[in-house]
């Protein structure tokens, strides 16, 4: 039986082998060469076909860019940072509360927290902004969120951020080894004291990278304030860029505003990756 099968099995690969083919390594290097060719062609086409003068006038018109100063920094960027940080602060406090509720031994607290998280992660941030800016004043005419636009943005951004941060914080708390809580309790600390002094500080070390990521997202989401109808003094980067763009019929202000975002978000992203790499090493 075996003797009759072996010759057949041996013949099959022998038939396929003789056809000459490119080795995988050669094929890879040829493919890479082709990619360079395509890229070079695209660059040349853009360089030849694009109207550089027109582009420069539209996107980098210095006279328009100059008009953006100093308000770009003193008003727009300052406000973007203020909105973001206040939203982050509200989100952090609220997120911590929701995370602790999510971990509570009282079931209704857990349900409430889950409900909050699902709702606010499932809604577009813009809808929350409109709800805060338009819905609440309509529903409760007498009620005003203190701080004007600043207060409204802090609340709207904070509500959204809290839902994401709550899940991050909960994961961080659960990542702290159980022995830490037990050791603290055996020293006579109450559950709350042990949480506050021992578990939460360690949880926050674990979640600094994802929280920084959340900060980057908030920087971008702060642009939604556009829909709250802000005044000259409360404009932030996006609104500022848009207003000036339509005023001057030029794209440069939007371009410059975009650069300002990148100036903040790119370094922050870099910090996040460094922190994550540091964590990976520490584990």
């Amino acid at each position: 039986m075996t003797s009759s099968h072996t010759p057949v099995a041996a013949k099959a690969p022998a038939q396929a082998a003789p056809r000459p083919r490119l080795s995988p390594r050669r094929r890879r290097s040829m493919l890479r060469g082709a990619q360079y060719v395509v890229l070079a062609a695209a660059v040349i086409a853009v360089a030849v076909l694009a109207d550089w003068h027109q582009l420069q006038q539209q996107f980098l018109e210095l006279s328009v860019a100059k008009r953006m100063f100093p308000d770009l920094l003193t008003v727009a960027l300052t406000n973007t940072v203020a909105y973001t940080l206040s939203g982050f602060g509200v989100g952090l406090v609220l997120g911590l509360i929701v995370a602790l509720m999510r971990l509570s031994s009282v079931a209704p607290y857990r349900w409430l927290a889950s409900f909050y998280i699902e709702v606010f992660r499932g809604l577009p941030a813009l809808l929350i902004f409109i709800f805060i800016g338009v819905g609440i004043p309509l529903a409760f005419p007498g009620l005003a969120i203190p701080g004007g636009a600043y207060g409204q943005v802090a609340v709207a951004l904070g509500l959204v951020a809290a839902a994401y941060m709550a899940e991050t914080i909960r994961a961080g708390i659960q990542a702290v080894p159980r022995g830490q809580m037990e050791a603290a309790r055996t020293l006579g600390m109450s559950h709350a004291r042990a949480m506050w002094s021992i578990v939460i500080p360690q949880a926050f070390r674990i979640i600094v990278p994802p929280l920084t990521n959340e900060l980057v997202l908030l920087f971008k989401d702060s642009s939604l304030v556009l829909f709250l109808g802000v005044s000259l003094q409360t404009r932030e980067l996006t609104k500022f860029g848009r207003d000036l763009a339509s005023e001057t019929a030029n794209t440069t202000p939007i371009f410059v505003a975009g650069l300002c975002y990148l100036l903040i978000t790119v370094p922050l992203g870099y910090v996040v990756r460094r922190l994550e790499a540091g964590h990976a090493k520490a584990r």
Binding site: P177, G179, Q180, E182, A183, A184, R185, T186, L187, G188, M189, S190, R193, S197, I198, P201, Q202, R205
Partner: protein, 282 residues
Amino acid sequence: MSAASEPSGSMREHKGTGMTNATTTADTPTPTRAIEIRALHKSFGDLQVLRGIDFTIDTGEVVCVIGPSGSGKSTLLRCTNLLEQPTQGQVLIAGTDITDPDVDIDRLRRRIGMVFQQFNLFAHLSVLDNLTIAQRRVLGRDKAEAVQVARQNLVRVGLADKEDSYPAQLSGGQQQRVAIARALSMGPELMLFDEPTSALDPELVGDVLAVMRGLADDGMTMMVVTHEMGFAREVADRVVFMDDGVIVEQGTPDEVLTNPRQPRTREFLARVLRPADTVTKS
């Protein structure tokens, strides 16, 4: 049958004063019950882990608990300071039934030091802060006093030069000695040890055992779950052998370790003692 058979009034009174003034642990003229456990049962779901434990530890006594893995040693220890809630039965610490819901367990735990197999040092705090945080937050000591007590205890465990280190910078043996110093800084009347050397490299075990021996010599009441038969033989006043959730046999080290009466004890000792260097972990 429950509350009727309590220890005599004089004992309770004596420990009663000790309770309100937790810093005086030294003057105990007559031996009193540091721990009294009555008909203790503990189940996790359907799993009966402790099936009726009765035993006592007198003040100043050193008791080693031995037994095979899964026999419920850790659970017994953890019921003693209510890290686990007993399913049934009573645990009396110096005459106070800690299973009584009216007992302030946080106040009581200050008086019971505990040392874990995995050390459980606070990873985000320096050695000194590990030793002072509970003194300050729980006992309300001011910083100067807490630091002074901490330094005394670091000297006691031979790590005075490590107060600024972080736990991750220390060897396992050093971490465990810091953990002992941390527990001692609260001025406990009683120390519980759950396999304090089982997670250590063999060459680091000796330092930790030496510290524990010193504690025993100083008269500390100790309940030690351990696989270190040498330590049990030399240091323990009494050895308790547990198997399958019950105490099978107890007595002096000589009685239990050298001349065990129960077949199960003999079997266990034969398994543990024969290959002399597999004693550390099962």
